[in-house]
Symmetry: D3
Subunit: 77 residues, 6 copies
Amino acid sequence: MPIVTIQVTREGTAPGATSTTAEQKAALIQGVSQLLLDVMGKPFDSTFVVIEEVDLDNWGWHGLPVSELRKRAGRPR
Amino acid sequence: MPIVTIQVTREGTAPGATSTTAEQKAALIQGVSQLLLDVMGKPFDSTFVVIEEVDLDNWGWHGLPVSELRKRAGRPR
Amino acid sequence: MPIVTIQVTREGTAPGATSTTAEQKAALIQGVSQLLLDVMGKPFDSTFVVIEEVDLDNWGWHGLPVSELRKRAGRPR
Amino acid sequence: MPIVTIQVTREGTAPGATSTTAEQKAALIQGVSQLLLDVMGKPFDSTFVVIEEVDLDNWGWHGLPVSELRKRAGRPR
Amino acid sequence: MPIVTIQVTREGTAPGATSTTAEQKAALIQGVSQLLLDVMGKPFDSTFVVIEEVDLDNWGWHGLPVSELRKRAGRPR
Amino acid sequence: MPIVTIQVTREGTAPGATSTTAEQKAALIQGVSQLLLDVMGKPFDSTFVVIEEVDLDNWGWHGLPVSELRKRAGRPR
């Protein structure tokens, strides 16, 4: 009965999108549930997935908020 | 000094509600603090409770977002 | 389909115990599942509970590890 | 720069294993990193994965510790 | 490659602010990254920081939501 | 009443150490509590810190377990 938590920055990565799309979320949920089944035999009905979207000001890397990091350093993802 | 994190889907379960109500949140906080006191002797002033509400698109079960699961399978909670 | 995470220090609170006992863990799981049912109507088969025990050196409060805090300040829990 | 946390019960699911094997852990890490790349374009060097193994006494479902649930209800995973 | 998660109540602590300001978030990210470097030699490019802001109704202490606790007990933070 | 969770790999970074030392843990707890006080005015008695140490096989980066990554790529931290 696995629990998988996926944390990503709140921003668009699909063409024209400004946030993670419903299709991307469904693909993450389907893909990670399949992975748990393939690797560990965990059935679909026992896997929970939670996706957390985090504002760019609230995510830090390289000692900076990502909102700032993007301006300085190009496009880390 | 326990920390209890309660994650639920962001939707109404009380009559007429579209999300967890303030009364339900207060009841969860009171109830879980009492439980820690009863079972482990933890005093009220040392227990933190954090409630996280997760959008239906962001919660997966059975390999599907809950928003989709509800349409197909009735009303799992 | 709630997920409840309970974090406690790794130490005994029952008479003679040096860690949380299996009986205490079962009581926490039963009690918190019942609470989710009573307050929000969540059925038992949709609630996951995870208990995390944390070493006293790894838990901080008042700016000190709990292992140190206990020596100085009596018995916070 | 996603963070993926995978929580599973501490037990064997591969033949002869009594816990998640190093090979299974590597497959989970590889697979979930690939999924983030495929679905959201996240490069491998920006994805962190953390696997947490939880003792059977510390995981609850159906209001019971999994250690107890297995005895009563067959083999939920 | 540390991951630091900072959870705070969603409210203002700077003069005139009604939430954590972008400047405070940047200072937390910079400070905690520096701390990991100083104490454990972790370079800035390997530390992730995630700040989570939690509504006052969703945070419990002393068995009460913080929104209620503030009315009764002055100003715990 | 902040909660700060610090996740690090389980390995030594101090001379001769094979894991995070008690002194390093105390320094992290003291430093992060001070940071919350300096930046947001949070008093020491309202900040909880939890340090989680994660086995090298259980931490993934670049699509690989850190235990494997170290062999191939030098010494990322």
